[in-house]
């Protein structure tokens, strides 16, 4: 199995999807971005349930960008769920938040998020994040 190189974006807002993808693009990151729009989908995806069993189409991600404001199943529930899955332990989770309010952030960290990005992230912020986590799997366009 090839090493994980996909980025899983859990986000329901198309504008935010656009802006994140654009920021990645501007940061010249070309790794595949898989988008799911609900918390349930995210959990199914990671569990490999249903159509997500096809890991060719839906590869295991190297990182999750998780919006906390999701329909039906809230982002922090997804976060909690992921942290309860033993096999997902090394998976870094970057929370996408619309505020950098302390209450939001402390809750993210408490639930086991690795870091956060305030929406919309700039290419510079994504670059700094990659640098901080030493993500060697990121692929850049030349």
């Amino acid at each position: 199995m090839s090493p994980n190189r996909a980025i899983l974006l859990v986000e329901d807002n198309v504008d935010d999807i656009f802006l994140l993808k654009r920021a990645l693009q501007q940061a010249r990151i070309v790794n595949p971005v898989v988008v799911v729009s609900t918390g349930q989908e995210a959990m199914d995806y990671l569990s490999g349930n249903g159509p997500f069993a096809d890991r060719f189409t839906y590869p295991m991600p190297a990182v999750i960008f998780l919006d906390l404001k999701l329909p039906f199943v809230f982002g922090h529930e997804v976060l909690g769920w992921i942290r309860r899955q033993k096999e997902l332990e090394p998976l870094p989770i970057i929370v996408l938040t619309s505020s950098n309010e302390a209450s939001d952030l402390s809750r993210c960290y408490a639930l086991g998020a690795n870091s956060y990005l305030v929406k919309p992230p700039t290419p510079e912020q994504i670059g700094a994040l990659a640098k901080a986590f030493n993500w060697s799997w990121l692929e850049y366009a030349h």
């Binding site: 504008d15 935010d16 656009f18 802006l19 654009r22 619309s98 302390a102």
Partner: protein, 743 residues
Amino acid sequence: MPATLSHFIFAQPRSLRSNLLFLVVIAFIPILAFAIVMVILSARNEREVFERGATERTRALITAVDAELKSFITPLEALATSRHLDVGDLGRFYEDAVRVLKSQPVWRTIILSLPSGVSVLNLLRPLGTELGAVVEKRSFNQVLKTLKPAVGDILFGPLTQSYDFVIRVPVLREGKLTYVLSAVIATKSIDGLISPQQLPPDWIGVVLDTRNRFVTRTIQPERNAGQLASESLRAALRRSPEGWFRGTTVEGWPVYTPYSRSSFSGWSVAMGIPADVVDATLRRSLLYLVFLGSGLLALSLLTAWILSSRTAGSIESLALMARTVGSGQHFPSETTQARITEVQVVRDALLSAHELLKRNSAEKERIASRLQLALQAGNIGVHEWNPQTKQLIWDDRVRAHWGLSPGAPVDFAVFLRGLHPGDRPRLKATLKRALDPASDGQYSAEFRVIGAEDQVQRWIEARGQVVFENGKAVRLTGTTIDISERRAFQSELERLVQERTAQLQETVGELEAFSYSVSHDMRAPLRAMEGYAKALLQDYRDRLDAEGKHWLARIAQSAQRLDLLVRDVLAYSKVAKSEIELTLVDLEKLIDDIIAANPEFQPPQVQIRMVKPLDRVIGHEAYLTQCVTNILANAIRFVADETTPVVTIRSERLDGKVRVGFQDNGIGIDRAHHERIFQIFGQVYPQDKYGGTGIGLAIVRKAMQRMNGDVGIESELGRGSRFWLIFNGEKDVAEPSHTVGRR
């Protein structure tokens, strides 16, 4: 008897009068006894003097009798020496004798007898007449025996036909008795010696011969001559030759009798002094004593009676006064002076006591009525309970609190029955605690009472105090108040508070949801607007003219600004409402962290200098971060073109407070706007030129206020600004009053 007397004297309370009378009598008895003894002694003394006087007189009389008798002897002895007798010439001697007889008027005759007892010569007979034997033998024999003159006893002379007596002398020749010469003498010669004129009246004087026959007697001498003296006198004479006795006369009259017998003649003199006369003195004295004593006693008793009446009256008036004083009634203004000093003193004392009492009781009444009014006005009931006697005293207000009618009988059981069953154990425990001598005795409780008569439930508050004596609870006193209304009001209030709190919590919840929505949902479209505008500007740069680009830039800016605005408003509202806990904050580290986290606060954009050390302050780290960030942001923002901002931070202590100053080199703010800049949206400078939302300093001020501090500014236009953050002193950190909100 002594027991009875002492009982009488000491045991029973007796009236002053009987005491005084008793005292008088007791004092009088020894005086009377003394007087009696004195009278008796004096009477005895007087009688002794009298007796001695009478005896002296008797003695004098017997001496006078002896002298008289001796005076008869001398001429007879002279005759006895007649020479005619030497030779027995009786004729011549007869003549001599007749001559002598004639010179002696009381002499009856002279007789010459031979020692043999035969008379040879009697002048009453012619010489040579045959004469018989000597009649009176005793004195004759005495002469024969003693050869000395002797006095004979009285006898009725057969020749003289009268009571006479005889004096005999011996006729001695050459030591031998030759004749006995006798003179017969009339008793009247002796009569003169004890004549009544020489004696006090009533006195009887007697002269007795050796046979105790009357020689003479002052009463009826003729009849008594030769008679035997009284039996008592004769007995006395047999006892002793001289003395004093009480006896009776021959007539049977009681007399005191001094008597004396002559050793010369054997005759006696005695007096009869009527016993009445002698005893009268004593009787009179005693009589006087009795009269005088009785009079004095009566007088003393009368005086004691009057005095006791007076004293008793005074004391009774005192008692009346005391009772009046005690009863607190008005005093009869009596002005009469007491006639006894002590009573006057007591009276004055009572009067002043009454004055004091009057004043005190007036004051007490005032206080009591004030208290009563206050109790009435406050509907405060007063209760008192004696844990020893179990006696319970309630006023009618307490009864009303227990739903009882006025005056209804109460006891501990009534008290207990009235209590709501749910509150009974609690109240019992409270009382038990208060009654414990180890406690301070205070109690206070709120409980329900079910009215005994009206079945109405009342909330009662009782407060009071237990009084202890010698480690025992002796009294429990306190008040009760009907707090039903207050209770109802309280529970209504509590209900309202709960309701409002619930409403508030709901509102707060809504607000939080709103804030969350604002910070998350409302900003999402803004971010989209900005993002798309920027994307347009980037991706369609070539196809837009300058104006189109400018407009797009304005859209992006506006979105950005609105986003900033929303964030600041949220920050402000959060500072205003959240609960914080104050701690000691290391300002140096905090500022270092802020600078490290924000590239725009780092050189070369700006120079921030700290004058170390900065004092530690009492605050909240997040709020302080916000304050410092905002002030620094302002310092950087409001600078003249081409000027590099420079901020100098220093701290100073002032009146126990810490002041942290941020001096910048900005454009400064006119004094007129110093207050406005701290208000929300109180922006002074145009946004386009300097940016900012106009909320930053409002947040600073609010945050500082929440940290019990303040913010201030010193600034003038064009001279830079100095912002002050003022904190309470470090030492106050431990005090709870500086903690804001819940912990």
